[in-house]
């Protein structure tokens, strides 16, 4: 039997029924990009799942070795493009640790506000795709509607809709325009009303409840053992958020809650993300109240040269723990090696655990609630 199995599959139980294999991807609308899943099926039930990566492996880490540190910030945009602005901060914090420069207060507020806007934007895409994958095309239209408002703000501040490339060691590329705060305020006021609509769409929808409650359960122990992070980990009952566990920037000065649920199923992963949008809005409101209009928006500009050493930073993006590990073997402008730890990779590793015993249509639901971004896995 072992000889008949394709690579990657392992015998887990003795079966008498005839099993067959299904290939899903790399071009499949619900794999969120170029992910290929090989499934071992028993009738309609999934026995085992083996993910195949590398369809969008772009060799970023090899390229980074011949790039300067600043150029790598632009590459980090293209890893998890839904949270590009957050990836920028992850890289920049590692560089700041190496250069040993601080950030003035106004720059910190700009950072936190853009972080939270990016988080809301990413969670809105989750909302859209989750609804869309369950068959509700309306959600797709609604999720992207509010996201465009965030993109307008990002475009005004950074000059780009998606690939922002905005933060720099010591602050950011530009100051924010005068219209930034009023626009964020207008967005939040609008969002308050829309969030009620959103929750009315899905949260109590009988189809969503039937298809997501008790589906794809990930236990607390498994979630930790597989290295899951972000909403996936918090839906399994682990209260871990880097903003609280190892606060970076000025996150320790804000009053917000880390939403945690305990069932670890698809519905919980959905509710955690919806609750997170509310918490992000709470942080944004506090930022607007305390935003310093005066003062420098960046520290003194210095050449980006890191002394010999290894520097590590971690931040909480919308998907989870995003860590950057920079190795500088010589003092200079180029890294010896940069490694990025994206949050989606462990989630797909834990997918096999979640889908066993479920149907293929449930796999689509589970994959949607993991909210993976494949280029960030493959890099």
């Amino acid at each position: 039997m072992t000889g008949m199995l394709p690579p990657g599959f392992r015998i887990q139980r003795e079966t008498n029924t005839e099993e067959f294999f299904i290939n899903m991807g790399p071009q499949h609308p619900s794999t969120h990009g170029a992910l290929r899943l090989a499934l071992r099926m028993d009738g309609e039930t999934i026995v085992e799942l083996v993910p195949h990566f590398g369809y969008i492996h772009r060799g970023m880490e090899k390229q980074a070795e011949s790039m300067s540190y600043l150029q790598y910030i632009a590459l980090s945009d293209r890893q998890d493009y839904l949270t590009a602005i957050q990836n920028n901060l992850g890289v920049v914090i590692a560089l700041e640790k190496g250069m040993n420069i601080g950030v003035p207060e106004k720059a910190e507020y700009i950072r936190v506000m853009l972080q939270e806007l990016g988080r809301i934007a990413s969670h809105l895409v989750f909302f859209a795709c989750f609804g869309g994958d369950l068959g509700g095309q309306t959600c797709l239209l609604y999720g992207f509607k509010e996201r465009e408002m965030i993109h307008d703000i990002l475009e005004e501040v950074t000059g780009s809709r998606l690939t922002t490339n905005f933060f720099r060691p010591g602050g950011s590329r530009y100051d924010v325009p005068d219209t930034f705060i009023p626009r964020v305020k207008a967005f939040l006021d609008h969002m308050d009303g829309t969030m009620k609509d959103y929750e009315r769409f899905l949260s109590k929808n009988i189809i969503v409840l039937e298809r997501s409650k008790g589906i794809g359960i990930l236990s607390k122990e498994d979630a930790i053992a597989y290295g899951c992070s972000g909403p996936v980990l918090r839906a399994s009952g682990v209260n871990f958020d880097v903003r609280r566990a190892n606060p970076y920037s000025i996150y320790d000065s804000f009053d917000f809650e880390v939403p945690v649920t305990y069932n670890g199923d698809c519905y919980d992963r959905y509710t955690v993300r919806i609750a997170e949008i509310h918490e992000s809005m709470k942080i944004l409101r506090q930022c607007i109240d305390r935003f310093p209009t005066e003062g420098p928006w960046r520290s003194k500009e210095k050449p980006v040269r890191l002394p010999v050493g290894r520097y590590y930073s971690e931040i909480e993006t919308a998907k989870g723990l995003y860590a950057t590990y920079v190795v500088a073997a010589t003092t200079g402008e180029k890294p010896y090696r940069i490694h990025t730890r994206g949050p989606s990779f462990p989630h797909i590793a834990a997918l096999n655990k979640m889908v066993q015993g479920h149907k293929i249509s449930d796999l689509v639901t589970i994959l949607a609630t993991l909210d993976p971004v494949i280029p960030e896995i493959d890099r």
């Binding site: 590398g54 895409v125 509607k145 998606l162 462990p346």
Partner: protein, 419 residues
């Protein structure tokens, strides 16, 4: 196609038949150009902009392309949204062949035009979609805005409207042109144009001076005042859990061989104590100590490193470093174990590029997360993890030659970044 293309043959001999043929052309093109159904395909950033363009704000339905089809057999248009890698290339060619003609392709974004940001030092990206399939319209941008995609769509529409029964759509051939050659050619043409313009300008300037000898310019360049920014002291982020010294003392007690890599002359204890609060402790471990130490830090109640963040490989001249990064969910502290592996130089030099040069113990039985991470290190560095249940390449094809993240890695398709 079939019958419509026969129309000229049948109708031309009949008096006035060519007007009917023109009418047929008009109707067919009207229908075809206003309902271009794209294929749901996207690999990276451009796919999100493609999705945005089909949503409420931009509304691709205005151009009759809102019906995104998941099956290539129902699509007319292949929007190549996102980078194409060598591993994905056969799938793209297969998708293209599955689309029934007349079919069109739009290359969206810099990656599909030329490789974009992934041109240099890259072993996995196909430099340009036109190497794989015939492309009708190129839409530049990284990623292009939805408006740019619409411009591409309208350009394609114009192209479709030019087709007639007498000059029907034909499947094109992929053009196997090296992007770098085209780039160099374009750069040469550009430089020649610039030179010509400079000469013309110089002539015009000389002529102007001759005609107006007394002319004096009143133009003063405006300089933007550079703002002065203060230097700000960095405040390390808050520490959680045990201090680095405490963790180090705990490890030293159990494993006396443990050290910390340092360039200073001071004793290691002082170096560890002087670390900033937000810097994780990184200790050097010998291969013999590695597995017992991982077991120790996982089970010891006061350390309890139950969460594996990542495993990172680093290649040096004579050794590999494998850095395993752990954190404690309960306490919040982190510990990095740097495992140093000497390269096996007993392997003949010509075989080294494709050989596994070092062996490390696998920790995937302790941390399930390590299974995929170790596969990544194996794929990129060629380090053998002894005891790994399923050691295969993860990102690259099984027949890929060499290990890309080694410093001496070479690939025939790789172009060095000009310094």
């Amino acid at each position: 196609m079939g019958i419509i293309n026969l129309a000229p043959k049948i109708l031309d001999p009949i008096p006035g038949g060519k007007y009917v043929v023109n009418a047929i052309d008009y109707v067919v093109n009207w229908a075809r150009a206003n309902s271009i159904w794209p294929l749901t395909y996207g690999t990276s950033c451009c796919a999100i902009e493609m999705m945005s363009s089909s949503m409420a704000r931009y509304d691709i339905a205005r151009f009759g392309s809102e019906v995104f089809r998941s099956s290539p057999r129902q699509a007319d248009l292949f929007i190549l949204a996102g980078t194409i890698t060598r591993r994905m290339a056969p799938a793209i060619q297969m998708l293209w062949e599955q689309i029934p003609g007349p079919k069109y392709a739009i290359a969206m974004g810099a990656c599909t035009i030329s490789g974009g940001p992934f041109i240099y030092d890259n072993y996995s990206v196909v430099r340009g979609a036109q190497n794989l399939i015939p492309v009708d319209v190129f839409v530049p941008g990284c990623p292009p805005r939805p408006e740019a995609l619409f411009h591409g769509l309208l350009t394609l529409r114009e192209k479709i409207l030019k087709e007639t029964c007498r000059n029907p759509w034909q499947v094109g051939e992929p053009k196997d042109v090296s992007t770098m050659d085209r780039y160099r050619e374009a750069a040469k043409t550009w430089a020649a144009l610039e030179e010509m313009k400079d000469e013309e300008m110089a002539e015009a300037r000389a002529k102007f001076k001759e005609e107006n000898p007394d002319y004096k310019s009143s133009f003063k360049p405006i300089r933007i005042k550079k703002e002065d920014f203060p230097e700000v002291e960095r405040v390390p982020f808050k520490r959680m859990g045990l201090t680095q010294s405490d963790i180090y003392a705990k490890l030293k007690e159990k494993f006396p061989a443990v050290t910390v890599h340092t360039h200073s002359e001071d004793p290691v204890e002082d170096v560890v104590a002087a670390m900033p609060a937000d810097r994780p402790l990184e200790v050097m471990v010998t291969p013999e100590d590695y597995l017992p130490m991982v077991e120790f830090i996982k089970d010891e109640a006061c350390l309890k490193m139950d969460y594996l963040i990542d495993i990172v490989g680093i290649d040096y001249d004579d050794h590999f470093d494998v850095v395993s990064q752990f954190r404690s969910m309960e306490h919040g502290h982190k510990l990095f174990l740097c495992l140093q592996l000497k390269k096996d130089f007993s392997i003949p030099e010509e075989q080294r590029a494709t050989a596994l040069l070092a062996h490390a113990p696998s920790i995937s039985h302790l941390y399930p997360a390590a299974e995929f991470k170790e596969r990544e290190v194996y794929d990129m560095f060629g380090i053998d993890f002894v005891g790994h249940p399923d050691q295969r390449r993860i990102f690259l094809d099984d027949d890929f030659v060499g290990y890309p993240l080694r410093k001496d890695f070479t690939h025939p398709e790789m172009i060095r970044r000009p310094v």
